[in-house]
């Protein structure tokens, strides 16, 4: 599943470590999600969406939609 996490993070000028701290997860997890190696659980996806004040579907995209970045 593709996502816009890297773009959203860059817009806020956050490092992976900073985002990880805000989400209460490891930097490695942030990196794995951003690079599409790992799809987060629904609770974590909600936490990410809440942090960026967006809907989950605004961040995580179906494969056929593409990330666009």
């Amino acid at each position: 599943m593709k996502n816009r996490l890297k773009l959203l993070r860059a817009e806020r000028d956050w490092s992976q470590g900073e985002l990880a701290t805000r989400l209460g997860i490891s930097r490695q997890s942030v990196n794995a999600i951003e690079t599409g190696k790992y799809d987060p659980s629904l609770p974590l996806a909600f936490r990410i969406a809440d942090l960026f004040a967006l809907q989950i579907e605004d961040i995580f995209l179906r494969d056929e939609e593409g990330a666009g970045e």
């Binding site: 990880a20 997860i25 490891s26 490695q28 997890s29 659980s41």
Partner: protein, 196 residues
Amino acid sequence: MPPIPTARSRHPVLLWCLAFCGAMGVAGLIVHKFDLGWAGTLAIMLTATSMTIPIVRAAERSARFEGNLSPAMRRYNRRMVAGSLLYTLGLFLAVYAYKNWEPTGALLWGLALLPAAGALAMVAAMARLLIEEQDEYLRLKLAQSALFGTGALLVLATIWGFLEQFRLVPHVPAWAAIPVFVIAIGVSRCLSWARA
């Protein structure tokens, strides 16, 4: 805020692991070649085992660099060090008592199980890490490594068991299961690291 480790922090883990293996080998040779008495033997074995402490410290620096050092992992590292020291102590006491006291009955059963206490403490530490790890991605990686270790152990034990049945290979004691499992987990993590 702790200082940010540099890339150099990743390499000492391997060096300390090699130093640990070397120290265990040297300690074994010294114990077999020289009569150090029980106190000397125990001291040298505990000294060699305590080299797990710098390994853990280097591993934590590396994990911090990789961004995957969680509180659960820190607790796991400390439990593993305690387990390895307990194992060494238990093994020494059991062997010493067996050679010098000629125990029988329940005492012999207890002594035979003494080294298992430390080894089982390490297994318990692994289980608690899986339970306590709050980071779902790290937990997934741990579960994958544990499954790889279990699979590797089953495959090796099955193959070795039949080879042994036909007297093609020597007997291996059942306690070797834990070292094989741990080594397989290490291989799994190396493969995961190489793929990343």
